[in-house]
């Protein structure tokens, strides 16, 4: 269930990032892998649908985020973990992603992050600000415990002000109970 959520959200971020860069959307998995890049500026293959005698020439050209870039982090590591209703303990299924976040952050020590705690709309504003702060701090403590310097991490709570899923119902609420790791500075240009 959570992998579904992560995959969905990672895919959405991919689409947004790709759209912004005018790239064709290529679906990356959310897995914390670090592609040994074939990043290239080669032009798009012109008319891939036309039958060709030379199949090698129509092989897709892979475009990946530059390692150490913000997009590398959001797409290849994952920038969001999810919480249970009114809870702020890091769920077991969130730890692989947070492990990958801490590995990535240790690999790129210039990067500064802000953990943003979010809550669903089934709570009132002020309580949710406090709850979001607890979630942001839970993520922060996990990263610090796994070797990321505390001075590189700030936290903020958005309460229920920044839902990523604007629908109603349990699925939307599950998406909106999250801790988002936002890169503030120090990432490579993408």
């Amino acid at each position: 269930m959570v992998t579904t959520v992560n995959a969905r959200s990672a895919l959405r971020l991919t689409l947004i990032a790709a759209g912004a860069l005018s790239l064709a959307a290529c679906g990356h998995g959310p897995k914390p892998s670090y592609p040994t890049s074939q990043a290239t500026q080669a032009p798009h293959s012109a008319e891939p649908s036309r039958p060709q005698a030379m199949p090698n020439r129509t092989e897709p050209v892979t475009q990946n985020a530059l390692p150490g870039s913000e997009r590398d982090f959001t797409v290849n590591v994952g920038d969001r973990v999810y919480f249970d209703y009114d809870m702020f303990t890091v769920r077991g299924d969130a730890t692989p992603l947070l492990d990958a976040q801490s590995d990535w952050l240790k690999r790129y020590p210039a990067v500064q992050v802000r953990i943003e705690g979010n809550a669903d709309e089934r709570g009132t504003e002020e309580y949710n600000l406090a709850l979001g702060a607890r979630r942001a701090n839970a993520v922060r403590e996990y990263l610090v415990a796994h070797g990321v310097a505390a001075t590189r991490i700030t936290t903020v709570s958005f309460g229920k002000e920044k839902p990523i899923d604007t629908g109603a119902g349990e699925q939307a609420e599950a998406h909106n109970r999250n801790g988002h790791t936002a890169i503030v500075s120090g990432a490579r240009m993408q």
Partner: protein, 435 residues
């Protein structure tokens, strides 16, 4: 014996079984009454257009709207009026007003007084055939709406024995844009929705504006990705100042009753506690020391106690402590999650948001936790705030996946209605009466 009395209206407001005045329904549409717990009819009142031209007509429109929205009065249809020769020089033709079952009659005359506007009014008991009281109001002509609200307050106080709440303003968060990317600006308007103004530019998310109960001053929270700040804003001078820099989030500000202090939440390392700042000395004291969420502080009217929200028992509940943080004790024990408590200005009730059975409710209880009364139910109702007389609450209502709207409900639950503000809004806060 007059057929209406302070006692009748007060009884209506307290939602006690009362000797109902039976009155045939007039052509004017009653306000929507969603919960009719008390078998009490609003008092029929005739308010013929004041003399003095258009301003007299306009003033009466504002008065009638104020009184009607209170749920305690039913302004009668002017088309039914037959006594067309009303003026200050003669007695009203009482039988003509009795015939349409008007119990109260309010008439008046607007005129120019120098460069100002002068309005004289008289209130009569129709069935007792006597004038109850008269009053003269003067103001600058552009403040004609405020004159009308003052007259409505005068009528309300005369006939209910309680202070009115019509010459007031409501601060709120004006919302624009789609959910997930909303712009939330600080807004302010008259309590009847007139003269809306926007006081921030939308670059930061504004939350939880709260009025001082003694002055036209607001405190509110500003949320940005970098963190939050609490501001004080003097509406008369437009001077704005921050409470200062804090390590961690600050939120949930609320003035003390005398306006000299602000209680608020400070978050450190994920834990939220309640602090209080003396606005003169800027000294900050910590009132709660608990690993639970402690937020939404609200003072008792005498300033001696603070009601607040805490999940120290495992779920959010309502607690009361001394204003120095002493002796916290839980007062909410019924099933459900209780948040956003706010003490009424009369001290009589604590209003709250309650979450139970998949719905949100606005409710009130006595400060000892007894006599809980649920006033509203919907997908999402939250954040009650009191009118200065403690008889009406404003709150935020949001539909599933929909926008937020400003609503009000009276303390009996009888009169539930949206505020006359056409846009999306949240976090309403009521000003004290203007001078």
């Amino acid at each position: 014996m007059t057929q209406f009395s302070k006692r009748t209206l007060l009884t209506a407001m307290a939602a006690l079984p009362a000797a109902a005045l039976f009155v045939p329904r007039a052509a004017w549409a009653d306000i929507e009454v969603n919960v009719n717990r008390a078998d009490v009819q609003p008092l029929p009142i005739a308010i013929p257009a004041f003399g003095g031209g258009q301003v007299g007509v306009d003033i009466v429109g504002v008065i009638a709207s104020d009184l009607q929205r209170s749920g305690l009065f039913r302004p009668l249809d002017p088309a039914s009026f037959t006594d067309r020769d009303l003026n200050a020089a003669v007695q009203p033709n009482y039988p003509a007003w009795q015939k349409i079952n008007a119990q109260a009659l309010l008439y008046g005359q607007a005129s120019a007084a120098g460069s100002g506007l002068q309005v004289d009014i008289r209130i009569c008991d129709v069935f007792a055939e006597k004038e109850l009281k008269g009053q003269r109001f003067t103001a600058s002509p552009e403040n004609w709406r405020r004159v009308a609200h003052k007259i409505a307050d005068f009528v309300y106080e005369l006939l209910t024995g309680e202070k009115g709440y019509f010459d007031t303003r409501i601060a709120f968060v004006a919302e624009t844009g789609a959910r997930g990317s909303k712009t939330k600006r600080l807004g302010i308007m008259d309590q009847d929705g007139a003269n809306p103004q926007y006081l921030t530019d939308g670059s930061a998310t504004i939350m939880t504006p709260r009025f001082s109960s003694t002055s036209q001053q607001l405190t509110y929270m500003e949320l940005r990705p970098e963190g939050s700040k609490i501001y004080l804003l003097d509406l008369d001078t437009t001077r704005r100042e921050s409470l200062g820099e804090f390590k961690g989030m600050v939120f949930s500000p609320r003035f003390s009753p005398d306006g000299s202090k602000v209680a608020f939440s400070v978050e450190r390392g994920g834990n939220s506690d309640i602090f209080m700042m003396d606005l003169r000395s800027r000294a900050t004291t910590r009132l709660t020391v608990d690993p639970a969420i402690d937020t939404s502080p609200s003072f008792s009217p005498n300033g001696a106690q603070i009601v607040f929200n805490s999940d120290r028992s495992g779920s959010p509940q309502i607690y009361i402590m001394g204003a120095d943080g002493s002796s916290p004790r839980r007062i909410s024990f019924a099933q459900g999650r209780y948040t956003a408590p706010v003490w009424s200005p009369t001290g009589e009730f604590i209003a709250f948001t309650k979450q139970t059975g998949g719905e949100f409710h606005i409710g009130v209880m006595k400060p000892d936790g007894s006599d809980e009364r649920i006033l509203t139910s919907s997908y999402l109702d939250e954040g009650p705030a009191w009118a200065p007389n403690g008889r009406v609450l404003v709150f935020t209502r949001q539909g599933a996946g929909g926008g937020s709207k400003l609503w009000s409900v009276d303390v009996t639950g009888r009169t539930l209605q949206p505020l006359p503000y056409p846009g999306a809004g949240s976090d309403p806060a009521w000003s004290p009466l203007l001078n």
